[in-house]
Subunit: 370 residues, 4 copies
């Protein structure tokens, strides 16, 4: 449904990078849910560029404004509209290069789809900026899930060729890791790996280049029984959302592509009773079997391609003149998007899971005491 | 939407492995489209188990019957319902082990979701058998796309640790590869790799074990401009469908997880004019930028986990007795699902792409002369 | 969504009058709901033509067969597919008049939409026969609502110019009326009115003509708080469904078109406390304010046009020859559809209300003990 | 889908009467469609209260602001967000009577649904004010349809007991009537009837009372073949939208409830050739057969109940104190909503029809030259 996602909750996003505002409508939240502005801004801040040499120098205040659906600090039960004004726009950077298609970007496809009518300033509707609205919506969803004991956390599993430690296979330790990651700006499990990543990002940046990596998310505290066998499998729902994040080109759950090298006897997760509960002794399936949560932590990873905006000279075409050309990108860009994209990944997971919960337990459930 | 997929075309699948029939409803096809039973059966045959030691010995005739929407060999424009009767069912194989949860399967999650009311015979609604209906629907969609010049083909990029050659970067050669693959039962580019894979599969099978791998699909002849920037990105739409295939645990486009190790300067696809058309000199992005097709071939891969049904003894629990147990699986199972799953992957791609085409060009377009 | 309705439950209908079978898929029912075949057939029987001179002489056995989603007499929680085979088809009746468009029917619009590819035998997908599947699905939904205390009943409020008594304004008496109506084949409150209607129907039939009327439904036992302020208002949801019934050309709630002649002071329903509960002293608004149920009985009416199939000679055109023509309809037809359509109207209400309930309370709620 | 409507175009509305702004998102419009602000405001002006004693004295400037999707005076092809700020709010009028439920309003149902968390100032999300956003969206849709030759016009068929003339059965004359109506503030065919209506409205107003009526719409220039046989019948789609208008309690097409008194031989529309085209000699079916447009004008009517806000004293309850009470409504209210609601009715029709057109002909069709 184009810019709208969901079944029991519906999220619609809108906006262009240099238009008046970006934002989102979220419909299907129960009435009476506390809207904690500080918590929302805290999530927004994770996505905001920092003046640390690792991200763009376009700094937006990103104050979330509610146009509807929130009253006296709580949801009213009607559609919630939130917007973020676009303030720090420098459209001139883009005008200079109009017609020159940026490799790796959506410039060519925007022409193919919109025939030249697109607002291409700052990437328009393809800009990563739109994901700020997703983070705000995700924060609302996340606060509901949090009250039910669901925790979501993402780290840079690899970046610029440097690997972080994996999540712990022990759930208790994993939850501690999650809590630490959710306090960090540059979210890694191993401090040493994080330091090495930052050095590698700065090195690429110094050369006018950019780097990619892998973002890994763990979700704990989920009920077993969420999701559907086919088109609304947990993997289907989350991957639809995760592939909406600009730059994500791969999604895997549990062992993911690692399964290709395993035999069934090694890939299957053995089971045992833990009190009254069935648990698996390993978690190769990443908490999901047959598309449905099994009560173990959901583990997923996305492949994030290097930021396509680089300062190095590139071969391209001038779309207007229909001739080959050379492009030297100006403007302000992130040499690495992963430290900020992790907030978007958290948000997408929160949106997808709240929708699955709401289908199963109803809208009213959201506001029930735990 | 649970068992229903789509926007402009809607596909609903239903059935359990040992129920009277499985099937699907497809709504949104234009009137007057030829329904070529031979072509459909040809696609069905690719998914059917063969008596070759590589797949289950449960052989179904899998004759597609139409209950609605087809008249005089053409679509009528109304909802098409097709069913496949379940004939060769041996439910007793499953009764023996009732309550013993099969590791890697959806037995535990089925209990969590359905509370014991599920029809668990043969995996019930979680059975790979349901995908036979998907293949039939996909064949209908594919025949429409084919008439428009769109070609879809899938090969075993890797299986049991053996790698096949990648697709050719030259589009003309790629189309030839596609045509050859679509004629093959065991679809590989390199015959030698295929032979080695089959040996490896048989070796695992002999040990009562199973293997996984990677299925790679190429789609050529697509128009530029399909898909949407966010929730209906081509990646989002196809991944939702692909993750519906039981056993798929990863999806990637273009370089996919390989992007993690590239710098932007290496990852971006340079552009040049080819006559009036813009093409890219490489195809790291797999034919998709900003969620929208750019006119280059779409390249994607799925990670397929090893069949969870293995004959080796496994540690599990008895769900009814709530105690640890040991399981020795009986019944008929595929030591490797990839040779058959490739037909399902083709079908899912066809369904997703026809939906995107129909949104852009309308229902009537489907039946227009090329 | 063409042939699919719903949000939290999805109903897809399919089939043509003279094809192999008609049927429906219903997705989103909880697992473990008893499937009472007798109750379903009882609802089916209300819609079946009787050999009473008031309806068509095409008698179908209309035995519901389940292809999926039902096991051991209960829902499994997966998509339920039910079919009804078409047995008593006499396509020759229609062949004689091929090309001659039947006034009041969908023959002209079928050509416009499907370009001649439609299966026009017996009205094809436009046939009232398709509503047999709706009744079967409605019976499933209704049995769930019934267990929660919701009662639905419909009577012929007017037919062939004869008026029945209105529903009682007293809820207790209304429930008694509902129970009586649900036991009747020809459902009227006043026996005298019913007798007069039957005389009038037979009179029209004898002249080769047909009659219309108004079907009025009362729904009691509903919770307050169902529905949404705008596009999913209870009126919006139910009217979408009710206008799907062939022959329905008007839908009104409460006073409906009678509101045009009232002043606000007469139209508003005064309120008072009844113990802890707020009730209205009148029910002009038919149990719905602002699109949401208020806890009073929902009262609605549909306008049902006279059956377009009449035996009198009619002016029409020959679509193939593109010339004016005269048509004398053959075949078997109902002189009045209302006695049978009331079962469809009940079913549509049940489907819509179960969807609204499920959105609010979740899928699991359906199977909970009252 | 709660506050979202549509298949190929999606319209999401949001806002509360006294919140910061109301608005809508419309997704699925093609790129390059001219956005004529003057035309939009012209439609908005039809809905705006006038200082004529017939409507509320709350005057809003109702300037439409675009937050996204419009650039250089044309649509960009992405989601369009428009907002209308709420300026002239006097919440105090409502505070005085907090807890006193207004008869005929959604106060009771809002408590039932939202448990007291609703923003009830000015009716909150139930306010007719939200329909201002619908009119703005409808104006966009209408401008696209207009360029294709589709004309929509609505008149007060009856009001306060006074009847206007019906639409002409001659299409040419009907189009002239439509053009005249679209220029009028108080849209009636007969000037004398209009004058009598205004006298009757003022008389009711002087007594602190309000009046209702019937709005009749004609839609000309439609292609045959729009709509679907069942759940997306033209009647289903339009009625879902029309019943979203607060105060609409009935919807009928063609003869509507008048069919109840006709025999088939009088109700069926005879056909004849008009050149190459098939036309009907009467239009009892209101341009729709089997849910699908037949190329004749679509004629529909809605029943609009009298404004529930009246100044006369009313019996009600105090929801907070749980006791019977008497209410004397203050504030600014319309004694008759019909003159303004006609703009909303036009808009709803435009939205529904554009969605049906887009499904059939595709998104790109919208921007094609006629």
């Amino acid at each position: 449904m184009k810019n709208t996602f969901g079944n029991s909750i519906l999220v619609t996003i809108f906006g262009e990078s240099h238009g008046p505002a970006i934002g989102a409508v979220i419909d299907g939240l129960a009435a009476g849910i506390p809207v904690d502005i500080d918590y929302i801004q805290q999530q927004m801040d994770k996505r905001r560029p920092k003046a640390d040499g690792l991200s763009t120098t376009r700094i937006e205040s990103d104050r979330v404004q509610f146009l509807s659906g929130v009253y006296n600090g709580h949801t009213t039960g009607t559609a919630i509209t939130l917007i973020l004004e676009n303030s720090n726009t420098r459209s001139r950077d883009y005008e200079k290069t109009a017609g020159l298609l940026r490799p790796g970007h959506a410039d060519l496809t925007a022409y193919a789809k919109y025939g030249g009518w697109q607002d291409s300033r700052g990437g328009g509707h393809f800009s990563g900026r739109i994901t700020a609205a997703v983070v705000a919506v995700g924060a609302l969803c996340r606060s509901i899930l949090k009250a039910k004991g669901v925790c979501i956390a993402t780290h840079l599993r690899s970046c610029a060729g440097v690997e972080d430690l994996p999540f712990s296979p022990q759930t208790e330790e994993l939850v501690q890791q999650q809590n630490r990651l959710n306090e960090m700006d540059f979210s890694v499990i191993s401090e040493a790996a994080g330091a090495a990543m930052q050095i590698a990002i700065r090195a690429a940046s110094a050369e006018g280049d950019s780097v990619g990596g892998v973002l890994e998310t763990a979700i704990t505290g989920l009920d077993a029984g969420l999701g559907e066998p086919f088109f609304d499998s947990v993997e289907s729902v989350l991957s639809q959302l995760l592939f909406s994040i600009p730059a994500v080109k791969g999604v895997e759950f549990g062992e993911g592509f690692g399964f290709a090298h395993l035999r069934g006897s090694a890939a299957n997760d053995a089971m045992r009773m833990q009190g009254e509960k069935v648990v698996t002794t390993t978690n190769h399936n990443g908490g999901i079997n047959g598309g449905i949560t099994n009560g173990m932590p959901v583990i997923l990873r996305t492949a994030v391609k290097p930021t396509p905006s680089i300062y190095k000279e590139q071969q391209t075409v001038d779309y207007n003149k229909k001739q080959d050309a050379v492009l030297q990108i100006q403007g302000r860009h992130d040499p690495c998007i992963l430290p900020r994209a992790r907030a978007v990944q958290d948000a997408m997971c929160a949106i997808g899971l709240l929708d699955l919960y709401t289908q199963r337990f109803g809208t009213l459930w959201q506001a029930e005491e735990g």
